[in-house]
């Protein structure tokens, strides 16, 4: 990349100079020649523009924003108190009063779904945060310094990736005790290797660029190089991985809460609601459907979002 850019980079500088000389300079847009590595704000804007053409992905983002808004506004949107039991109407069908019916304790399913959505979304973001906090620094270290550090970090990451994440999460919870925070920390730790691998690979390819060599020659300290030059360039693939990981984290949370190892009553998440639905499957065939659909739909939206982002970046890299 750098070898083809160098000779071209000189030309627009001359062009721009000629434009600036003219009196009507402000009316003429600055000529941006193609293939020149522009300021990262420009590259990012290009990515956003490409992303906007992915219609399914844009729709997914809008739906995700709506979902988040609905979860945040749960107290306003809920028709009932999510924990108020009504023993006179357990497992009631759908009605004008209870849009999605009631559960085994007569609690309103629609209201519970909204409040549980808060828990599920927040849990997924928590796990993502833990994975990023562990994965990004370790990936930067491994990719930038290579050598022994890289071998050790990569071996551990490969080892974790080769094993069933859910089993490892269950094992960690077995030691630390059940609970949503413990569960999501475990999930975050187990998803960190995805980011270690990604950041490491990106850093290794970015390190080959001339501007990194220039920064090293200029005596810029490694931390500064990583934060100012390497990390911003690794951002697009990081975003893609983050979108997919949030979806995976939601599935993991749902599995663990379904098993009773995540969220603890009276708090509910979509996973624990699904467990209620399963436990009462012989009395109500509908109770399991809303939380199950909510999980599948949200994970689907994150995946479509990630696919669109990847397509937007892919074209940029192919150029």
């Amino acid at each position: 990349m750098s070898s083809t850019d160098k000779p071209r980079a000189a030309e627009p500088a001359v062009d721009r100079w000629a434009v600036w000389q003219r009196s009507d300079a402000f009316e003429v847009p600055a000529p941006v020649s193609e293939g020149v590595e522009t300021y990262r704000g420009g590259a990012f804007r290009q990515m956003v523009q490409r992303f906007m053409r992915e219609r399914a992905a844009v729709a997914a983002v809008c739906a995700l924003l709506l979902l988040t808004a609905a979860a945040l506004a749960a107290p306003l949107l809920a028709t009932h108190d999510p924990n108020a039991a009504d023993f006179s109407a357990p497992l009631a069908g759908r009605s004008a009063d209870h849009w999605l019916g009631t559960d085994q304790l007569g609690r309103d399913t629609f209201s519970r779904l909204l409040f549980a959505g808060r828990v599920s979304l927040l849990a997924a973001v928590q796990a993502l945060g833990v994975a990023l906090m562990i994965g990004v620094p370790l990936g930067l270290l491994a990719g930038y310094f290579r050598g022994k550090i890289d071998s050790i970090i990569s071996a551990v990451a490969d080892g974790i990736m080769a094993l069933p994440a859910l089993l490892l999460a269950v094992a960690i919870i077995g030691a630390t005790g059940a609970g949503l925070t413990n569960a999501m920390i475990a999930v975050g730790v187990l998803f960190a290797p995805r980011f270690i691998r990604l950041i490491r690979a990106t850093v290794i390819s970015i390190r080959e660029n001339a501007y990194i060599a220039a920064a090293v020659t200029a005596g810029t300290p490694p931390t500064r190089i990583m934060l100012r030059h390497v990390l911003p360039n690794a951002l697009p693939p990081l975003l893609v991985q983050a979108a997919f990981t949030t979806g995976f984290a939601m599935l993991a949370e749902a599995s663990l809460s379904f098993l009773g190892l995540g969220v603890q009553a009276p708090q509910a998440s979509w996973g624990s609601m699904l467990n209620d639905g399963y436990a009462n499957a012989n009395r109500s065939s509908f109770l399991a459907i809303p939380p199950g659909v909510a999980i599948a739909l949200t994970v689907l939206l994150f995946n479509v979002f990630g696919d669109g982002l990847r397509a937007a970046i892919g074209r940029e890299e192919r150029r």
């Binding site: 859910l166 077995g174 499957a281």
Partner: protein, 342 residues
């Protein structure tokens, strides 16, 4: 086999008759490759033992007093400490644990007092049966659908399958399992909603018990595999040797069966190998839904009672099994792709 590698192979045979050297080289390369894979697997195995052993140190506070149950007497704490050998230096504890594990002794359950090895070996066939059924269902779904999608690229059926597999990948397998229980198991008596019968007792009952849980996992696995098979086949079908085969007048079915599948096998096997780990994780939840007495149920009850020796044993055994499968997948490349031998 590709045309390109076929000619290479032929030239090797010809040269091989002249001197023995070209023949011995590939086998040395294969040995080196196998050695490297085994070394890497050993390293991962070491990490698994460290993780499993380290679980006891993740128990908050003093492990012995936490693990001795609620409100333990000092004697009970001391008994747990002695049982787990927590007084010794950590390297000594680790060495003893790994040494015993290598001889098949994974210790005793803190709750039932039974041998962890016996508990695991009695339940392993259930989990393995479930995994087997899931893989079979996954392939039964994905091979035809992936092939149709790849051959009819961008057609209506391809788009439908793409949407379907995207939805399938996002759906939790245990939601599929619950739906199967509600719609099938509760309405018919053919496929029971709970339990397990071993294949040695009654093969028919074994199949009947494994079909619904296997299908729950297999549908989601099949969705992922359909995508992968589609893209692997599309890539292969665009290659020169497929065009050559078609130009020679070989029928489409023969081209697909003899050339396309063979060359698409590597990415498909890779994905299948990578999915095994996720599949084994999925069995934990599916076993709970269909009340199957497998490793998952053992793990959950051990986690609820903080029965650390049982959890350690499960992590070690399942981790080693997944590792063996992954190593076999890596080694199978040498057989699937003659090029890697050279």
């Amino acid at each position: 086999m590709t045309n390109a590698s076929a000619t290479k192979q032929a030239s090797h045979d010809q040269r091989g008759r002249e001197s023995r050297i070209p023949d011995s080289r590939p086998s040395a390369a294969v040995l080196w490759q196998i050695g490297r894979h085994l070394l890497r697997s050993l390293l991962v195995l070491f990490l698994i033992t460290v993780f499993a052993f380290g679980l006891i140190w993740m128990v908050p506070g003093n492990p012995a007093s936490t693990l001795a149950g609620e409100f333990p007497s000092p004697e009970e704490v001391a008994a747990v400490e002695a049982k787990l050998g927590l007084d010794d230096p950590i390297p000594v504890q680790y060495g003893r644990w790994v040494g015993n594990a290598a001889q098949g002794d994974l210790g005793e359950s803190l709750r039932s007092g039974r041998s962890v090895t016996d508990e695991i070996t009695s339940r392993l066939p259930v989990t393995l049966s479930l995994t087997l059924f899931a893989v079979v269902f996954g392939l039964l779904i994905a091979l035809p659908l992936g092939t149709v999608a790849a051959l009819r690229r961008n057609s209506a059926i391809d788009r439908l399958l793409t949407v379907g597999s995207t939805v399938g990948v996002a759906t939790p397998s245990f939601f599929v399992g619950i739906i199967l229980v509600i719609t099938v198991a509760l309405n018919t008596s053919v496929f029971p909603a709970t339990g397990y019968v071993g294949p040695t007792e009654n093969v028919g009952d074994w199949i009947r018990h494994c079909i619904l849980p296997g299908l729950s996992l297999g549908l989601v696995l099949g969705a992922e595999l359909t995508r992968q098979i589609r893209s692997a086949l599309i890539e292969v079908m665009q290659s020169d040797y497929i065009r050559t085969a078609r130009a020679k007048g070989i029928s489409s079915q023969r081209v697909i069966a003899k050339h396309a599948y063979k060359n698409a096998a590597i990415p498909i096997v890779t994905i299948l190998g990578a999915q095994i780990a996720a599949l084994v994780g999925g069995t934990i939840v599916i076993e709970q839904i269909f009340a199957m007495p497998g490793i998952g149920g053992l793990a959950i009850s051990a986690v609820r009672t903080q029965d650390i020796p049982v959890i350690q044993g499960i992590v070690l055994v399942v981790g080693a099994l997944v590792l063996i499968i992954n190593t076999l997948v890596d080694l199978s490349y040498a057989f699937l792709d003659p090029r890697t031998r050279q």
